[in-house]
Amino acid sequence: MNMLRELRDAISLQELGIATQNPAALVSSLNRSTEVKSIRDSYRSGSITESNIRTVVNELLMSLRIGERFSGELFLAAVAVALTPFMDRFTAEYIDDLANLKLRELFIASAVAKRCKAVRMTMPKNLFHPFTLGRRAERNVRPLHFHSHAGPQLEVRPGSTSAFVHHAAA
C-alpha cells in the first residue's frame, strides 16, 4: 500500500510526463523503472492487492478536475504497465476500463492502457476459472502456486476473489 502511495507521489513520475507524451515511449520507460517492477513483484507476491490498488486509485481520482491537468495521470499509466503481465479479472478490468475512457484529462493514461491492452492480446491465452474464496482464505492465505512441469499453474492471490490457472506458453 505504501509502495503505491510512494509511486503516486514520486517526482520521477511527474518528470517523466514532462519529458515525453508518446504512449509507446512511456510504456518502454515505465517498464524499465524500478518502481513499476516493484509494484509488479508485490502484486505477484500478494503484498499489493486488488483492494489496495482500488483504494489508492480512488483516493487519487478525488483530485480529478475537468478542464485541469491531472497530476495523477502517469500513476494510473504506471499501474497499467505494472499489471500488464497478469491475466486476472481485476487487471483486465483496470486496463480495459482505463483504455476505454474518453477524457482529455486522462488521455495519456488511456493511450498507455491501450498499448498495454494490445500487449496482452499477444500474450499466451490462459484458462480462467473464477471461484469465490471463503473469508478465512481471503484473510490468511498467502499466494499459492501449484506447479507441474508440463501442466498448468494455479495461482491463488490473497485478497482476490478468483484463482487462475496459467498454462505455460506453447
Binding site: I11, Q14, A19, T20, Q21, A25, L61, L98, R104, A111
Partner: protein, 174 residues
C-alpha cells in the same frame, strides 16, 4: 473501475491542424495547469541551470505543438502522428554536420528501440549552431517540455529521467 470517470466525456479536440497534403493531425484541447504543477516545474527547471525560459508553463501546446502547430494547440505525440507529419510535410533527414544544419531546422529525439522500432520522444527547433568540438553539444535548441515551459537549452540537455537510449536527428522540410 473508473465508474465515475466513464460518465464524463471531455475529449474535445484541439484546433484543427493539417499536413501539407491535407491529412488531419490529431490535436487535443487546452487544459489549465493543476495547482501543484508550478512547483513540479520549478523543481525540474532548478536541476537544469543552463535552461533559459522563454515563457511560463502552459498546457495549451506541447513540443509537437510548438514545432507543428505554431503554439496554437497540443499535438498528439504518438509515433504514427509523427510518421504522418514526416511523410506528408516532406521532411528530410539531414547529415549531422555543421555545414548541413541551419537555424530553424528541427531536432527530433527518439527513444532507441532495443530490437524494436524507435519511438518518438521530443522535438525542438535549432536556434544556434554550436561551434567547436563537439559542435552538437554547444548547439542551442528552443523547445517545450510537455505542459512545462518553453525553454532554450543545449541540444543534449533534455529531461531524460528513466530514458537511457536517446538518439536524435535533424529534419528540414523540403
Amino acid at each position: 473501475m473508473f465508474e465515475f470517470e466513464k460518465l464524463l466525456s471531455s475529449t474535445s479536440p484541439g484546433l484543427p491542424v493539417m499536413t501539407l497534403r491535407g491529412s488531419p493531425i490529431p490535436t487535443l484541447s487546452e487544459l489549465n495547469l493543476a495547482p501543484s504543477d508550478r512547483k513540479t516545474w520549478q523543481r525540474l527547471a532548478a536541476s537544469h541551470k543552463s535552461w533559459l525560459e522563454r515563457r511560463v508553463p502552459t498546457a495549451r501546446y506541447n513540443c509537437a505543438g510548438l514545432a507543428w502547430s505554431s503554439r496554437r494547440t497540443w499535438v498528439d505525440s504518438a509515433d504514427q502522428t509523427v510518421d504522418l507529419i514526416r511523410v506528408e510535410d516532406q521532411y528530410s533527414v539531414l547529415p549531422r554536420t555543421t555545414e548541413a544544419i541551419r537555424e530553424g531546422d528541427l531536432v527530433v529525439y527518439f527513444l532507441a528501440g532495443q530490437g524494436a522500432r524507435r519511438q518518438f520522444f521530443h522535438v525542438g527547433q535549432v536556434v544556434s549552431i554550436g561551434q567547436g568540438n563537439p559542435w552538437e553539444a554547444n548547439t542551442l535548441v528552443l523547445s517545450k517540455f510537455g505542459w512545462g515551459a518553453e525553454v532554450r537549452h543545449f541540444l543534449h540537455e533534455i529531461p531524460d529521467r528513466g530514458f537511457q537510449y536517446i538518439e536524435h536527428e535533424f529534419w528540414r522540410e523540403s
